[in-house]
Symmetry: C2
Subunit: 209 residues, 2 copies
Amino acid sequence: MIKEYLKHNFKNFEPALMEKIEQNASIKEFEPDEILMTTGQYFRSTMLVVEGRIKLYREGPEGGEFFMYYLEPGNACALSMICAAKKEASEIMAKAVEKTKVITLPIELMDDLMRNYKTWYYFVLETYRSRYEELLVVIDHIAFKGMDERLDFYLRNQVMKLQTKELKITHSEIASDLSSSREVISRLLKKMEQKGDLLLHRNYIEWLR
Amino acid sequence: MIKEYLKHNFKNFEPALMEKIEQNASIKEFEPDEILMTTGQYFRSTMLVVEGRIKLYREGPEGGEFFMYYLEPGNACALSMICAAKKEASEIMAKAVEKTKVITLPIELMDDLMRNYKTWYYFVLETYRSRYEELLVVIDHIAFKGMDERLDFYLRNQVMKLQTKELKITHSEIASDLSSSREVISRLLKKMEQKGDLLLHRNYIEWLR
DNA sequence: ACCTGGCGGTGACATTTGTCACCCTGATTG
DNA sequence: CAATCAGGGTGACAAATGTCACCGCCAGGT
């Protein structure tokens, strides 16, 4: 079972690595909106996503959920690997947005994997690199762009990641993800509707580009 | 010579690792304001800082230099390790702010080091973790705080890192680092002066807290 | 001494974003 | 049906930030 997941989502892993993981890992499931990880929490295991989708975000002082990126099947939580190895607390929130399955690996295995399986080692590096780059993109946007561009980028990203042009999301949620307020988002969305970029409906947004 | 630097700044490296590095590395020097790395550039080597200070920043569309963090002796450039290993382009700018010396390691060595030297492996993980966390702090500030708090944090950070309460920096530079404009920074600085947090002088700022 | 350029101060104003108040509508529930 | 509630629209206003214009001051060079 685990091996099937690995073959689907982690194709680059060498056979011996899959074997090793299968012998030591277990599967964990999360329901939508379930919190996988919370600020200050310690890790006991590393997680590989095989089904569903996880939202990684930063908690704001007034309960905002500033969106950073999604983890999807084939991804791993970079922090869970680093912090697991170092036994440090995480500083990030992770929440399932869909029904999600992950493979969990005990942290004790990390040294062994890192040292003896080249494909694991590359996978870890690639995970770090891509997450780091995602943060850079986030920084670019909040540092250099206005809310209108950020909203546009956010929506395009959602359409792409969720594979649908009908975004079931409320204005308040968007506001929270962008650390803004509902009214501002509503106004900007209206402008985009007038430009013909999208259609506003109750409870969902129809993307037209 | 290299071994001396390693002993000073990378105390945790095991002796055999220092030996190995010494046999393969070379020293490179940079003058103040010299660019070490630029957006889109490829790496041929990994860098360990042994002297001076490097500013890591993100380039804005109008030439802004959005400050992320400094690299100091004992640090390494996380991206140079990841990108080196993966032969990918960097997406970040690095500039020496003082006369700076770095040890450069050919990327071909990375696999070997990673696999055979536990202290290297831990060092790399710790480097990733701490850089990632620094980005998180940056994101927190631009996402949730106003310019006044960001400025305060920026100045405290400079005082701490540069080990001096006399910051030789112009208002324009601060504005660029925070992706704001000189006038705004000048006004906020004036307010802070009125509160008694600092004294404004020509070409430098005297921190009083 | 004079010129010049970089630094910084400042008022006026535009723009963007946040906040408040209040309303409307559609869905749900008892 | 009436009551309720979440989602959303909107105008008025406040606050923060960006922009422009222009000024003065100091230091270095000639």
